[in-house]
Assembly symmetry: C2
Homo-oligomer: 199 residues x 2
DNA sequence: CCACATTTGTAGCGAACACTACAGATATCT
DNA sequence: AGATATCTGTAGTGTTCGCTACAAATGTGG
């Protein structure tokens, strides 16, 4: 028996286009019409490949997380906790103002508060944000074991702080903050990080 | 000539209810049906009083800003810049986890990225956030004039930093961060503030 | 070449959306 | 009291939403 007509579009390329639409308009603000146009496919192709609008979001988030993990690996491989924090903050400032993408971060702009029909979208986004925070925390736990960070330092607090600052930078970026402004915020935050690791 | 049938509902009380819905579901996630039910009125009353869904949001934001200004006055009246920062951060942690309101802040949860039909909603929210930042900056300019802050300190940077942190706390609050967690973040941020004002 | 499995484009589905026409109700002003 | 002006509730309006039925198209395996 046959294997059916092959798909005529590249799923990953289409997800990149969908990512951009969700990023720019949020989950609820993005319409199927906009998504299909950006992806250069028709609705039946979208639904055959991804099941639903929410399924498409999850697939886009998977792809987003994939890229983000590769980036996080490079950040976490820095020699010291301080350098991890510095890279994390500074490269966030750059990424959130990269003209190749909409401002901010998909995991924040995607939607913090949604309607009753999309109630689990914010959860989905939050789970992916938590993942970054977990990766940071584990890196700081390791730094503690390596005596790169002192005994009195709480890795969870450090990770949460960095996560909060970068989330805040997303909000600023969405209202037009430029790269220099975000770097300034990152620089101040880095001093807080240093101060926190001294105590 | 007569002056017409008087309004049978309290506009401010209705706005408080609407505020809660926008806060919990975001602008686009909030439906007219949910809003009218929460406000205990029918659609024609809503449209007669506020013109449109976006008009209702603006009216709710005006009321929100009113309350926020009263709160900011108390914060800004603190004796020193340091105390201003401390109050601002800590009371934000409390306010964003106040069980009387949805988590976070209406100016962030309301919507960072919206659909093409609601494109100016994010601008409207951003403008109100900027107002808070401006108030902080002006307070720090004053602190500088009073020699409470050193000559080398940049009031704009300080204000932006505090604004970014509290925005980040909104994101954390929306994904379930509790009061203690936010206070922890506020405490770390306050150390950054101190460090920044020393340099 | 034929049977089969899957995708594609067209066209349109029911539901929910923001919003409103209309008539009755309720106030004020003369 | 009567005329007027505005609000209220019912019951919708047209539009857009996410999603899909269907038939033609296009590949594989026998």
């Amino acid at each position: 028996m046959g294997m059916g007509r092959p798909r005529a579009f590249d799923a990953d390329a289409a997800l990149d286009r969908a990512m951009d639409v969700f990023w720019r308009h949020g989950y609820e603000g993005a319409t199927i019409a906009q998504l299909t146009e950006a992806m250069s496919i028709n609705p039946p192709s979208l639904y055959a490949a991804f099941g639903s609008k929410e399924g498409l979001l999850k697939a886009a988030l998977d792809r987003y997380t994939e890229k983000r993990d590769a980036w996080m690996d490079r950040v976490l491989n820095a020699a010291t906790a301080h350098e991890v924090a510095e890279r994390f903050l500074m490269e966030h400032a750059d990424a959130q103002t990269d003209p190749a993408n909409p401002p901010g971060c998909l995991l924040v702009q995607g939607g913090l508060a949604c309607g009753t029909g999309s109630a689990n979208v914010p959860f989905e986004l939050a789970a992916r944000r938590t993942r970054t925070e977990d990766q940071l925390r584990e890196r700081f736990v390791r730094a503690k074991a390596e005596h790169d960070l002192g005994e009195s330092v709480d890795p969870a607090t450090l990770a949460r702080y960095l996560s909060a600052v970068t989330s805040g930078m997303c909000v600023m970026a969405s209202s037009g903050a430029n790269r220099e402004t975000l770097r300034e915020i990152a620089a101040v935050s880095l001093k807080a990080f240093e101060e926190q690791t001294k105590g």
